[in-house]
Protein backbone atom coordinates (compact mmCIF):
# COMPACT_ATOMS: atom_id res chain seq x y z
CA UNK A 1 0.00 0.00 0.00
CA UNK A 2 1.25 3.48 -0.80
CA UNK A 3 2.12 5.90 1.99
CA UNK A 4 -0.80 8.20 2.79
CA UNK A 5 -0.19 11.88 1.97
CA UNK A 6 -1.70 12.97 5.24
CA UNK A 7 -2.14 10.64 8.15
CA UNK A 8 -3.22 10.97 11.77
CA UNK A 9 -2.71 8.43 14.53
CA UNK A 10 -4.52 8.49 17.87
CA UNK A 11 -5.43 12.19 17.84
CA UNK A 12 -6.91 13.45 21.11
CA UNK A 13 -8.43 16.85 21.76
CA UNK A 14 -10.36 17.81 24.87
CA UNK A 15 -12.30 20.98 25.56
CA UNK A 16 -12.77 20.93 29.33
CA UNK A 17 -14.79 17.78 30.05
CA UNK A 18 -15.80 17.28 26.43
CA UNK A 19 -13.65 14.96 24.38
CA UNK A 20 -13.93 16.15 20.80
CA UNK A 21 -11.35 13.74 19.42
CA UNK A 22 -10.97 10.36 21.08
CA UNK A 23 -7.90 8.60 19.69
CA UNK A 24 -8.92 9.32 16.16
CA UNK A 25 -7.16 7.93 13.09
CA UNK A 26 -7.19 9.41 9.63
CA UNK A 27 -5.71 8.58 6.23
CA UNK A 28 -5.64 10.52 3.00
CA UNK A 29 -4.20 8.71 0.02
CA UNK A 30 -2.48 10.34 -2.96
CA UNK A 31 -4.78 11.73 -5.60
CA UNK A 32 -8.08 10.81 -3.97
CA UNK A 33 -11.13 12.71 -2.87
CA UNK A 34 -11.84 11.66 0.69
CA UNK A 35 -15.18 12.75 2.10
CA UNK A 36 -15.55 13.17 5.83
CA UNK A 37 -19.10 12.84 7.10
CA UNK A 38 -20.55 12.67 10.55
CA UNK A 39 -23.42 13.95 12.62
CA UNK A 40 -23.27 17.35 14.25
CA UNK A 41 -20.93 17.25 17.22
CA UNK A 42 -19.16 14.10 16.03
CA UNK A 43 -15.88 16.02 16.01
CA UNK A 44 -15.23 16.36 12.30
CA UNK A 45 -14.59 20.11 12.55
CA UNK A 46 -12.04 19.52 15.29
CA UNK A 47 -10.37 16.82 13.21
CA UNK A 48 -10.13 19.13 10.20
CA UNK A 49 -8.89 22.00 12.34
CA UNK A 50 -6.17 19.79 13.77
CA UNK A 51 -5.11 18.75 10.26
CA UNK A 52 -5.07 22.36 9.03
CA UNK A 53 -3.23 23.72 12.06
CA UNK A 54 -6.10 25.77 13.51
CA UNK A 55 -6.29 23.49 16.59
CA UNK A 56 -3.35 21.96 18.42
CA UNK A 57 -4.19 18.37 19.44
CA UNK A 58 -3.57 17.22 23.04
CA UNK A 59 -2.24 13.87 21.91
CA UNK A 60 -1.44 11.68 18.92
CA UNK A 61 0.54 12.53 15.85
CA UNK A 62 0.07 13.87 12.36
CA UNK A 63 2.22 12.58 9.52
CA UNK A 64 2.73 14.31 6.22
CA UNK A 65 4.17 11.99 3.56
CA UNK A 66 5.11 9.63 6.39
CA UNK A 67 7.03 12.24 8.37
CA UNK A 68 5.69 13.56 11.68
CA UNK A 69 4.72 17.24 11.66
CA UNK A 70 3.51 19.59 14.40
CA UNK A 71 1.43 22.54 13.28
CA UNK A 72 0.97 25.43 15.70
CA UNK A 73 -0.92 27.73 13.34
CA UNK A 74 -2.73 27.59 9.99
CA UNK A 75 0.32 29.29 8.50
CA UNK A 76 2.48 26.27 9.41
CA UNK A 77 0.15 23.93 7.55
CA UNK A 78 -0.02 26.36 4.66
CA UNK A 79 3.77 26.47 4.45
CA UNK A 80 3.68 22.67 4.02
CA UNK A 81 1.26 22.95 1.11
CA UNK A 82 -1.97 22.22 2.98
CA UNK A 83 -4.64 24.77 2.00
CA UNK A 84 -8.08 25.03 3.55
CA UNK A 85 -11.26 26.57 2.15
CA UNK A 86 -13.20 27.55 5.24
CA UNK A 87 -16.95 27.55 5.37
CA UNK A 88 -16.83 31.34 5.83
CA UNK A 89 -14.41 31.51 2.86
CA UNK A 90 -12.04 33.86 4.75
CA UNK A 91 -12.17 36.63 2.18
CA UNK A 92 -12.19 40.39 2.54
CA UNK A 93 -15.27 41.63 0.67
CA UNK A 94 -13.97 45.16 0.06
CA UNK A 95 -10.73 43.98 -1.53
CA UNK A 96 -10.20 42.76 -5.08
CA UNK A 97 -10.03 39.16 -6.27
CA UNK A 98 -6.27 39.46 -6.79
CA UNK A 99 -5.76 41.00 -3.34
CA UNK A 100 -7.71 38.15 -1.78
CA UNK A 101 -5.89 35.45 -3.72
CA UNK A 102 -2.58 36.71 -2.38
CA UNK A 103 -3.65 37.79 1.10
CA UNK A 104 -0.82 37.02 3.50
CA UNK A 105 1.62 35.98 0.75
CA UNK A 106 1.82 39.03 -1.47
CA UNK A 107 4.43 39.30 -4.21
CA UNK A 108 6.76 42.27 -4.19
CA UNK A 109 8.38 44.04 -7.11
CA UNK A 110 11.87 42.86 -7.98
CA UNK A 111 14.83 45.10 -7.15
CA UNK A 112 14.88 48.34 -5.18
CA UNK A 113 11.15 49.07 -5.53
CA UNK A 114 10.30 45.82 -3.78
CA UNK A 115 13.15 45.63 -1.29
CA UNK A 116 13.28 49.24 -0.11
CA UNK A 117 9.83 50.60 -0.93
CA UNK A 118 8.05 47.27 -0.45
CA UNK A 119 5.96 47.90 -3.53
CA UNK A 120 3.58 45.12 -4.49
CA UNK A 121 3.87 43.57 -7.90
CA UNK A 122 0.22 44.14 -8.88
CA UNK A 123 0.69 43.05 -12.46
CA UNK A 124 2.25 39.70 -11.61
CA UNK A 125 -0.40 38.98 -8.96
CA UNK A 126 -3.23 39.86 -11.33
CA UNK A 127 -1.81 37.72 -14.10
CA UNK A 128 -1.33 34.77 -11.76
CA UNK A 129 -4.87 35.11 -10.37
CA UNK A 130 -6.40 35.31 -13.83
CA UNK A 131 -4.39 32.31 -14.95
CA UNK A 132 -5.41 30.21 -11.95
CA UNK A 133 -9.09 31.06 -12.31
CA UNK A 134 -8.97 30.25 -16.01
CA UNK A 135 -7.06 27.02 -15.35
CA UNK A 136 -9.96 25.72 -13.30
CA UNK A 137 -12.27 26.69 -16.15
CA UNK A 138 -13.83 28.98 -13.64
CA UNK A 139 -14.85 32.06 -15.49
CA UNK A 140 -14.27 34.48 -18.28
CA UNK A 141 -12.80 37.29 -16.34
CA UNK A 142 -13.70 40.82 -17.11
CA UNK A 143 -11.96 42.49 -14.23
CA UNK A 144 -9.68 40.78 -11.77
CA UNK A 145 -9.70 43.99 -9.72
CA UNK A 146 -13.38 43.67 -9.04
CA UNK A 147 -14.10 43.57 -5.32
CA UNK A 148 -15.16 40.21 -3.94
CA UNK A 149 -18.42 41.66 -2.57
CA UNK A 150 -19.64 42.20 -6.13
CA UNK A 151 -19.45 38.44 -6.83
CA UNK A 152 -22.24 35.95 -6.34
CA UNK A 153 -21.97 33.20 -3.72
CA UNK A 154 -20.84 30.65 -6.29
CA UNK A 155 -18.24 32.97 -7.75
CA UNK A 156 -16.83 33.70 -4.29
CA UNK A 157 -16.64 29.99 -3.56
CA UNK A 158 -14.91 29.59 -6.91
CA UNK A 159 -12.29 32.19 -6.03
CA UNK A 160 -11.72 30.56 -2.64
CA UNK A 161 -11.27 27.14 -4.25
CA UNK A 162 -8.95 28.63 -6.85
CA UNK A 163 -6.86 30.22 -4.11
CA UNK A 164 -6.55 26.91 -2.29
CA UNK A 165 -5.80 25.01 -5.48
CA UNK A 166 -3.21 27.54 -6.59
CA UNK A 167 -1.18 27.33 -3.40
CA UNK A 168 -2.15 23.92 -2.02
CA UNK A 169 0.64 21.82 -3.46
CA UNK A 170 -0.06 18.79 -1.24
CA UNK A 171 -3.60 18.79 0.18
CA UNK A 172 -6.72 20.88 -0.28
CA UNK A 173 -9.30 20.82 2.52
CA UNK A 174 -12.84 21.98 1.73
CA UNK A 175 -15.24 22.62 4.60
CA UNK A 176 -18.89 22.49 3.48
CA UNK A 177 -18.17 24.06 0.09
CA UNK A 178 -21.72 23.67 -1.18
CA UNK A 179 -23.67 24.40 1.99
CA UNK A 180 -24.52 27.99 1.12
CA UNK A 181 -25.00 27.49 -2.60
CA UNK A 182 -27.89 26.89 -4.93
CA UNK A 183 -28.21 23.67 -6.91
CA UNK A 184 -26.53 24.99 -10.06
CA UNK A 185 -23.74 26.76 -8.25
CA UNK A 186 -23.08 23.58 -6.23
CA UNK A 187 -22.72 21.70 -9.50
CA UNK A 188 -20.06 24.12 -10.62
CA UNK A 189 -18.13 23.79 -7.38
CA UNK A 190 -18.25 19.98 -7.59
CA UNK A 191 -16.80 20.22 -11.09
CA UNK A 192 -14.10 22.48 -9.70
CA UNK A 193 -13.26 19.93 -7.04
CA UNK A 194 -12.88 17.26 -9.68
CA UNK A 195 -10.69 19.44 -11.81
CA UNK A 196 -8.43 20.09 -8.80
CA UNK A 197 -8.20 16.35 -8.23
CA UNK A 198 -7.41 15.73 -11.89
CA UNK A 199 -4.27 17.79 -11.32
CA UNK A 200 -3.15 15.20 -8.81
CA UNK A 201 -3.90 17.04 -5.59
CA UNK A 202 -5.76 14.98 -2.98
CA UNK A 203 -8.83 16.59 -1.43
CA UNK A 204 -10.56 16.30 1.92
CA UNK A 205 -14.23 17.17 1.54
CA UNK A 206 -16.39 17.82 4.57
CA UNK A 207 -20.06 17.86 3.66
CA UNK A 208 -23.53 17.13 4.89
CA UNK A 209 -24.85 16.72 1.40
CA UNK A 210 -24.99 12.96 0.76
CA UNK A 211 -25.64 13.11 -3.01
CA UNK A 212 -22.61 15.40 -3.44
CA UNK A 213 -20.45 13.19 -1.27
CA UNK A 214 -21.47 10.02 -3.09
CA UNK A 215 -20.96 11.65 -6.45
CA UNK A 216 -17.39 12.85 -6.09
CA UNK A 217 -15.78 10.91 -3.24
CA UNK A 218 -13.46 7.95 -3.79
CA UNK A 219 -13.72 6.92 -0.16
CA UNK A 220 -15.90 8.09 2.70
CA UNK A 221 -14.56 8.52 6.22
CA UNK A 222 -17.46 8.22 8.67
CA UNK A 223 -16.86 10.04 11.92
CA UNK A 224 -18.77 9.12 15.04
CA UNK A 225 -18.29 10.00 18.72
CA UNK A 226 -14.88 11.60 18.24
CA UNK A 227 -13.27 8.87 16.15
CA UNK A 228 -13.28 7.17 12.79
CA UNK A 229 -16.06 4.63 12.76
CA UNK A 230 -15.22 3.20 9.35
CA UNK A 231 -14.19 4.08 5.84
CA UNK A 232 -16.61 2.95 3.14
CA UNK A 233 -16.55 2.73 -0.62
CA UNK A 234 -19.38 4.82 -2.09
CA UNK A 235 -19.82 2.28 -4.89
CA UNK A 236 -20.46 -0.57 -2.48
CA UNK A 237 -22.75 1.26 -0.07
CA UNK A 238 -25.90 3.30 -0.35
CA UNK A 239 -26.62 6.66 1.15
CA UNK A 240 -28.96 5.13 3.66
CA UNK A 241 -26.14 2.82 4.82
CA UNK A 242 -23.92 5.82 5.36
CA UNK A 243 -26.57 7.72 7.28
CA UNK A 244 -27.30 4.67 9.38
CA UNK A 245 -23.61 4.21 10.31
CA UNK A 246 -23.14 7.89 10.99
CA UNK A 247 -26.14 8.14 13.33
CA UNK A 248 -25.50 4.81 15.02
CA UNK A 249 -28.68 3.19 13.67
CA UNK A 250 -26.57 0.41 12.18
CA UNK A 251 -23.10 -0.96 12.80
CA UNK A 252 -20.83 -1.49 9.80
CA UNK A 253 -20.05 -5.16 9.18
CA UNK A 254 -16.81 -6.87 8.41
CA UNK A 255 -13.51 -5.11 7.98
CA UNK A 256 -13.81 -1.42 8.64
CA UNK A 257 -11.17 -0.23 6.22
CA UNK A 258 -11.45 -1.51 2.68
CA UNK A 259 -8.07 -1.67 1.01
Amino acid sequence: MTTPVLEARGLVKRYGKVTALDHCDFDLRPGEILAVIGDNGAGKSTLIKALSGAVIPDGGEILLDGKPVAFTSPNDARAQGIETVYQTLAMSPALSIADNMFMGRELRMPGVMGKVFRKLDRKRMEEFSREKLAELGLMTIQNINQTVETLSGGQRQGVAVARAAAFGSRVVILDEPTAALGVKESRRVLELIQSVRSRGIPIILISHNMPHVFEVADRIHIHRLGKRLCVIDPKAHSMSDAVAYMTGAAVPEGHLEPA
Binding site: S92, P93, T140, T147, S152, Q155, K184, P211
Partner: protein
Protein backbone atom coordinates in the same frame (compact mmCIF):
# COMPACT_ATOMS: atom_id res chain seq x y z
CA UNK B 1 -25.46 4.76 -5.55
CA UNK B 2 -29.12 3.83 -6.05
CA UNK B 3 -30.89 5.40 -9.01
CA UNK B 4 -33.34 7.20 -6.74
CA UNK B 5 -30.35 9.04 -5.27
CA UNK B 6 -29.57 10.69 -8.58
CA UNK B 7 -32.09 13.44 -8.27
CA UNK B 8 -29.67 16.15 -9.24
CA UNK B 9 -28.82 14.64 -12.62
CA UNK B 10 -31.42 16.81 -14.21
CA UNK B 11 -29.28 19.85 -13.49
CA UNK B 12 -26.14 18.21 -14.80
CA UNK B 13 -27.50 17.63 -18.26
CA UNK B 14 -28.35 21.28 -18.67
CA UNK B 15 -24.86 22.53 -18.24
CA UNK B 16 -24.79 25.01 -21.07
CA UNK B 17 -26.04 27.88 -18.95
CA UNK B 18 -23.53 30.35 -17.68
CA UNK B 19 -23.50 31.10 -14.04
CA UNK B 20 -20.03 32.19 -13.14
CA UNK B 21 -19.27 35.05 -15.44
CA UNK B 22 -18.06 38.50 -14.66
CA UNK B 23 -19.40 40.16 -17.74
CA UNK B 24 -22.35 42.23 -16.72
CA UNK B 25 -23.18 43.94 -19.97
CA UNK B 26 -23.85 47.60 -20.49
CA UNK B 27 -24.41 49.94 -17.61
CA UNK B 28 -26.19 53.23 -17.33
CA UNK B 29 -24.26 56.44 -16.70
CA UNK B 30 -25.70 56.58 -13.21
CA UNK B 31 -24.56 53.10 -12.23
CA UNK B 32 -21.15 53.76 -13.75
CA UNK B 33 -20.95 56.87 -11.57
CA UNK B 34 -21.88 54.67 -8.61
CA UNK B 35 -19.13 52.22 -9.56
CA UNK B 36 -16.59 55.04 -9.79
CA UNK B 37 -17.51 56.23 -6.32
CA UNK B 38 -17.37 52.68 -5.07
CA UNK B 39 -13.85 52.12 -6.32
CA UNK B 40 -12.55 55.65 -5.63
CA UNK B 41 -14.09 56.75 -2.34
CA UNK B 42 -12.03 59.98 -2.24
CA UNK B 43 -14.02 61.28 -5.20
CA UNK B 44 -16.97 62.53 -3.10
CA UNK B 45 -14.95 64.80 -0.77
CA UNK B 46 -12.97 66.05 -3.76
CA UNK B 47 -16.18 67.08 -5.49
CA UNK B 48 -17.43 68.78 -2.30
CA UNK B 49 -14.07 70.53 -1.87
CA UNK B 50 -14.04 71.87 -5.42
CA UNK B 51 -17.68 72.94 -5.16
CA UNK B 52 -17.00 74.78 -1.90
CA UNK B 53 -13.98 76.53 -3.44
CA UNK B 54 -16.00 77.59 -6.49
CA UNK B 55 -18.93 78.89 -4.41
CA UNK B 56 -16.71 80.86 -2.04
CA UNK B 57 -14.70 82.10 -5.02
CA UNK B 58 -17.85 83.39 -6.74
CA UNK B 59 -19.10 85.07 -3.57
CA UNK B 60 -15.83 86.50 -2.30
CA UNK B 61 -13.99 86.98 -5.56
CA UNK B 62 -10.25 87.43 -5.63
CA UNK B 63 -10.09 87.88 -1.88
CA UNK B 64 -10.64 84.14 -1.56
CA UNK B 65 -8.85 83.01 -4.70
CA UNK B 66 -5.54 84.65 -3.80
CA UNK B 67 -2.50 82.42 -3.28
CA UNK B 68 -2.26 83.92 0.20
CA UNK B 69 -5.77 82.92 1.26
CA UNK B 70 -5.53 79.44 -0.22
CA UNK B 71 -2.24 78.71 1.48
CA UNK B 72 -3.60 80.19 4.70
CA UNK B 73 -6.13 77.37 4.64
CA UNK B 74 -3.30 74.85 4.40
CA UNK B 75 -1.55 76.48 7.36
CA UNK B 76 -4.72 76.46 9.40
CA UNK B 77 -5.44 72.80 8.76
CA UNK B 78 -1.89 71.49 9.20
CA UNK B 79 -2.42 70.19 12.75
CA UNK B 80 -5.87 68.74 12.08
CA UNK B 81 -4.61 67.37 8.76
CA UNK B 82 -1.84 65.37 10.41
CA UNK B 83 -4.18 64.17 13.16
CA UNK B 84 -6.79 63.22 10.54
CA UNK B 85 -4.21 61.09 8.70
CA UNK B 86 -3.54 59.25 11.97
CA UNK B 87 -7.24 58.93 12.76
CA UNK B 88 -7.94 57.61 9.25
CA UNK B 89 -5.51 54.72 9.80
CA UNK B 90 -7.29 53.68 13.00
CA UNK B 91 -10.74 54.03 11.48
CA UNK B 92 -9.68 51.85 8.53
CA UNK B 93 -9.13 49.04 11.05
CA UNK B 94 -12.74 49.60 12.25
CA UNK B 95 -11.47 51.34 15.38
CA UNK B 96 -11.61 54.91 16.62
CA UNK B 97 -9.01 56.93 18.49
CA UNK B 98 -10.17 59.58 20.94
CA UNK B 99 -6.67 60.17 22.27
CA UNK B 100 -4.96 61.58 19.15
CA UNK B 101 -5.19 65.25 20.17
CA UNK B 102 -4.12 64.57 23.73
CA UNK B 103 -1.11 62.55 22.57
CA UNK B 104 -0.10 65.40 20.25
CA UNK B 105 -0.25 67.94 23.10
CA UNK B 106 1.65 65.69 25.49
CA UNK B 107 4.34 65.09 22.86
CA UNK B 108 4.77 68.82 22.29
CA UNK B 109 5.02 69.31 26.07
CA UNK B 110 7.60 66.52 26.35
CA UNK B 111 9.67 68.01 23.54
CA UNK B 112 9.60 71.40 25.29
CA UNK B 113 10.15 70.20 28.85
CA UNK B 114 12.91 67.75 27.94
CA UNK B 115 14.94 70.53 26.35
CA UNK B 116 14.15 73.24 28.92
CA UNK B 117 14.01 71.28 32.18
CA UNK B 118 16.79 68.77 31.49
CA UNK B 119 18.82 70.80 28.97
CA UNK B 120 18.66 68.11 26.30
CA UNK B 121 19.51 69.56 22.86
CA UNK B 122 16.39 70.18 20.78
CA UNK B 123 17.67 67.87 18.05
CA UNK B 124 17.32 65.03 20.57
CA UNK B 125 14.21 66.34 22.33
CA UNK B 126 12.11 65.92 19.19
CA UNK B 127 12.92 62.20 18.71
CA UNK B 128 12.25 61.67 22.45
CA UNK B 129 8.80 63.26 22.02
CA UNK B 130 8.11 61.11 18.94
CA UNK B 131 9.21 57.98 20.83
CA UNK B 132 6.81 58.82 23.68
CA UNK B 133 3.98 59.21 21.17
CA UNK B 134 4.83 55.82 19.64
CA UNK B 135 4.91 54.24 23.11
CA UNK B 136 1.44 55.56 23.99
CA UNK B 137 0.21 54.27 20.65
CA UNK B 138 1.72 50.88 21.46
CA UNK B 139 -0.15 50.84 24.79
CA UNK B 140 -3.42 51.56 22.96
CA UNK B 141 -2.65 48.88 20.39
CA UNK B 142 -1.79 46.26 22.99
CA UNK B 143 -5.03 46.87 24.88
CA UNK B 144 -7.10 46.73 21.70
CA UNK B 145 -5.36 43.79 20.07
CA UNK B 146 -4.26 41.52 22.94
CA UNK B 147 -6.92 42.22 25.55
CA UNK B 148 -9.51 42.74 22.80
CA UNK B 149 -11.02 45.79 24.48
CA UNK B 150 -13.16 48.09 22.31
CA UNK B 151 -10.98 50.87 20.82
CA UNK B 152 -13.55 53.48 21.83
CA UNK B 153 -13.21 52.59 25.52
CA UNK B 154 -9.42 52.18 25.44
CA UNK B 155 -8.81 55.53 23.81
CA UNK B 156 -11.50 57.29 25.87
CA UNK B 157 -9.53 56.25 28.94
CA UNK B 158 -6.19 57.00 27.33
CA UNK B 159 -7.41 60.47 26.36
CA UNK B 160 -8.10 61.32 30.02
CA UNK B 161 -4.89 59.69 31.24
CA UNK B 162 -2.70 61.45 28.69
CA UNK B 163 -4.33 64.83 29.32
CA UNK B 164 -3.88 64.44 33.07
CA UNK B 165 -0.24 63.36 32.69
CA UNK B 166 0.24 66.35 30.42
CA UNK B 167 -0.94 68.81 33.10
CA UNK B 168 0.82 67.01 35.96
CA UNK B 169 4.13 66.72 34.14
CA UNK B 170 4.18 70.28 32.81
CA UNK B 171 2.72 71.76 36.04
CA UNK B 172 0.47 73.61 33.58
CA UNK B 173 3.36 75.89 32.59
CA UNK B 174 3.60 77.35 29.12
CA UNK B 175 7.03 77.69 27.53
CA UNK B 176 7.10 81.08 25.85
CA UNK B 177 7.81 81.48 22.16
CA UNK B 178 10.72 83.88 22.73
CA UNK B 179 12.46 81.43 25.06
CA UNK B 180 12.17 78.65 22.49
CA UNK B 181 13.42 80.98 19.78
CA UNK B 182 16.56 81.89 21.72
CA UNK B 183 17.54 78.57 23.28
CA UNK B 184 15.92 75.76 21.27
CA UNK B 185 14.91 77.06 17.81
CA UNK B 186 14.85 73.55 16.34
CA UNK B 187 11.56 72.92 18.18
CA UNK B 188 9.98 75.60 15.98
CA UNK B 189 11.62 74.18 12.84
CA UNK B 190 8.29 73.20 11.27
CA UNK B 191 7.09 76.81 11.61
CA UNK B 192 9.76 77.92 9.11
CA UNK B 193 8.03 79.90 6.37
CA UNK B 194 8.94 80.13 2.73
CA UNK B 195 7.12 81.79 -0.15
CA UNK B 196 6.44 80.38 -3.56
CA UNK B 197 5.01 83.04 -5.87
CA UNK B 198 2.92 84.88 -3.29
CA UNK B 199 1.86 81.66 -1.59
CA UNK B 200 3.18 81.23 1.94
CA UNK B 201 4.07 77.70 3.01
CA UNK B 202 5.44 76.39 6.25
CA UNK B 203 7.49 73.24 6.69
CA UNK B 204 4.58 71.97 8.80
CA UNK B 205 2.36 72.10 5.71
CA UNK B 206 5.02 70.24 3.75
CA UNK B 207 5.21 67.63 6.50
CA UNK B 208 1.42 67.21 6.45
CA UNK B 209 1.48 66.67 2.68
CA UNK B 210 4.36 64.19 3.07
CA UNK B 211 2.53 62.20 5.77
CA UNK B 212 -0.57 61.99 3.58
CA UNK B 213 1.38 60.98 0.45
CA UNK B 214 3.51 58.37 2.24
CA UNK B 215 0.47 56.82 3.93
CA UNK B 216 -1.47 56.84 0.66
CA UNK B 217 1.38 54.97 -1.02
CA UNK B 218 1.86 52.51 1.81
CA UNK B 219 -1.85 51.71 2.09
CA UNK B 220 -2.25 51.24 -1.66
CA UNK B 221 0.90 49.53 -2.73
CA UNK B 222 2.33 47.47 0.11
CA UNK B 223 1.27 44.22 1.71
CA UNK B 224 0.99 45.98 5.07
CA UNK B 225 -1.53 48.41 3.58
CA UNK B 226 -3.63 45.57 2.19
CA UNK B 227 -3.53 43.87 5.59
CA UNK B 228 -4.78 47.05 7.28
CA UNK B 229 -7.81 47.05 4.96
CA UNK B 230 -8.36 43.29 5.38
CA UNK B 231 -8.23 43.48 9.20
CA UNK B 232 -10.65 46.40 9.16
CA UNK B 233 -12.98 44.64 6.77
CA UNK B 234 -13.25 41.27 8.51
CA UNK B 235 -10.63 40.43 11.16
CA UNK B 236 -11.55 36.73 11.37
CA UNK B 237 -11.33 36.27 7.61
CA UNK B 238 -8.03 38.11 7.47
CA UNK B 239 -6.62 35.91 10.22
CA UNK B 240 -7.69 32.70 8.49
CA UNK B 241 -6.27 33.97 5.20
CA UNK B 242 -2.87 34.28 6.82
CA UNK B 243 -2.73 37.88 8.07
CA UNK B 244 -1.29 38.41 11.53
CA UNK B 245 -4.09 40.46 13.07
CA UNK B 246 -2.17 41.31 16.22
CA UNK B 247 0.94 42.48 14.39
CA UNK B 248 -1.10 44.58 11.99
CA UNK B 249 -3.11 46.29 14.75
CA UNK B 250 -0.04 46.90 16.90
CA UNK B 251 1.84 48.48 14.01
CA UNK B 252 -1.16 50.65 13.10
CA UNK B 253 -1.54 52.00 16.64
CA UNK B 254 2.21 52.60 16.95
CA UNK B 255 2.40 54.44 13.63
CA UNK B 256 -0.58 56.51 14.76
CA UNK B 257 1.16 57.38 18.04
CA UNK B 258 4.23 58.42 16.05
CA UNK B 259 2.16 60.61 13.70
CA UNK B 260 0.48 62.21 16.74
CA UNK B 261 3.99 63.02 17.99
CA UNK B 262 4.67 64.67 14.62
CA UNK B 263 1.44 66.66 15.07
CA UNK B 264 2.81 67.83 18.44
CA UNK B 265 5.95 69.07 16.71
CA UNK B 266 3.81 70.80 14.06
CA UNK B 267 1.92 72.50 16.93
CA UNK B 268 5.11 74.06 18.31
CA UNK B 269 5.92 75.35 14.84
CA UNK B 270 2.43 76.76 14.40
CA UNK B 271 1.99 78.42 17.80
CA UNK B 272 5.63 79.15 18.57
CA UNK B 273 5.06 78.27 22.21
CA UNK B 274 4.49 75.01 24.07
CA UNK B 275 1.21 75.09 25.93
CA UNK B 276 -0.22 72.12 27.85
CA UNK B 277 -3.68 73.69 27.67
CA UNK B 278 -3.78 73.90 23.87
CA UNK B 279 -7.32 73.23 22.64
CA UNK B 280 -6.03 70.42 20.42
CA UNK B 281 -5.88 68.22 23.53
CA UNK B 282 -9.61 68.56 24.07
CA UNK B 283 -11.12 68.90 20.60
CA UNK B 284 -8.34 67.53 18.37
CA UNK B 285 -9.91 64.07 18.38
CA UNK B 286 -13.33 65.35 17.30
CA UNK B 287 -11.80 67.56 14.62
CA UNK B 288 -9.84 64.60 13.27
CA UNK B 289 -12.87 62.30 13.30
CA UNK B 290 -14.91 65.02 11.54
CA UNK B 291 -12.30 65.32 8.78
CA UNK B 292 -12.14 61.54 8.36
CA UNK B 293 -15.91 61.12 8.18
CA UNK B 294 -16.37 64.01 5.74
CA UNK B 295 -13.49 62.43 3.81
CA UNK B 296 -15.64 59.38 3.14
CA UNK B 297 -13.87 56.80 5.29
CA UNK B 298 -16.32 54.28 6.63
CA UNK B 299 -16.55 54.04 10.41
CA UNK B 300 -17.19 50.32 9.92
CA UNK B 301 -13.62 49.90 8.68
CA UNK B 302 -11.93 48.64 5.54
CA UNK B 303 -13.20 51.33 3.19
CA UNK B 304 -11.99 54.75 2.19
CA UNK B 305 -8.66 56.38 1.51
CA UNK B 306 -6.28 58.59 3.41
CA UNK B 307 -6.44 61.19 0.64
CA UNK B 308 -10.16 61.46 1.36
CA UNK B 309 -9.42 62.29 5.00
CA UNK B 310 -7.04 65.00 3.82
CA UNK B 311 -9.75 66.45 1.56
CA UNK B 312 -12.09 66.28 4.56
CA UNK B 313 -9.69 68.39 6.63
CA UNK B 314 -9.38 70.85 3.73
CA UNK B 315 -13.17 71.11 3.38
CA UNK B 316 -13.44 72.12 7.03
CA UNK B 317 -10.61 74.64 6.52
CA UNK B 318 -12.28 76.13 3.42
CA UNK B 319 -15.59 76.51 5.23
CA UNK B 320 -13.99 78.15 8.24
CA UNK B 321 -11.95 80.67 6.25
CA UNK B 322 -14.59 81.31 3.59
CA UNK B 323 -17.37 81.99 6.08
CA UNK B 324 -15.09 84.16 8.20
CA UNK B 325 -14.12 86.20 5.12
CA UNK B 326 -17.79 86.54 4.24
CA UNK B 327 -18.36 87.94 7.73
CA UNK B 328 -20.78 85.20 8.80
CA UNK B 329 -21.38 84.24 12.41
CA UNK B 330 -18.91 81.40 13.24
CA UNK B 331 -21.87 79.27 14.35
CA UNK B 332 -22.77 78.90 10.67
CA UNK B 333 -19.49 77.03 10.22
CA UNK B 334 -20.40 74.49 12.88
CA UNK B 335 -23.90 74.15 11.49
CA UNK B 336 -22.66 73.48 7.97
CA UNK B 337 -20.00 71.04 9.18
CA UNK B 338 -22.68 69.18 11.09
CA UNK B 339 -24.77 68.92 7.93
CA UNK B 340 -21.70 67.72 6.00
CA UNK B 341 -20.97 64.95 8.51
CA UNK B 342 -24.48 63.54 8.25
CA UNK B 343 -24.48 63.92 4.47
CA UNK B 344 -21.12 62.16 4.23
CA UNK B 345 -22.33 59.13 6.17
CA UNK B 346 -25.50 59.01 4.09
CA UNK B 347 -23.43 58.98 0.91
CA UNK B 348 -21.18 56.30 2.42
CA UNK B 349 -24.18 54.06 3.06
CA UNK B 350 -25.32 54.54 -0.51
CA UNK B 351 -21.89 53.78 -1.94
CA UNK B 352 -21.61 50.61 0.15
CA UNK B 353 -24.64 49.22 -1.61
CA UNK B 354 -23.22 46.97 -4.26
CA UNK B 355 -24.49 47.41 -7.77
CA UNK B 356 -26.52 44.34 -8.61
Amino acid sequence: MASSDRYEDVVRTRNAEKFAEFDRGKKSVWSRFHDALHSTPALVPLIVLLAACIIFGLVLGSKFFSPFALTLILQQVQIVGVLAAAQALIILTAGIDLSVGAIAVLCSVIMGQVSFRYGVPAGLAVPIGLACGTAIGAANGWLVSRLRLPPFIVTLGMWQIVLAVNYLYSANETIRAQDIETSAPFLQFLGTKFTLGGAVFTLGVVLMLLVVLVLAYVLRSTAWGRHVYAVGDDPEAAQLAGVDRHKTLMSVYMVVGFICGLAGWVMIGRFGSVSPSATTGVIGNIQAITAVVIGGISLFGGRGSIVGAFFGALIVGVFELGLRMAGADPQWTYLLIGVLIIAAVTVDQWIRKVTA
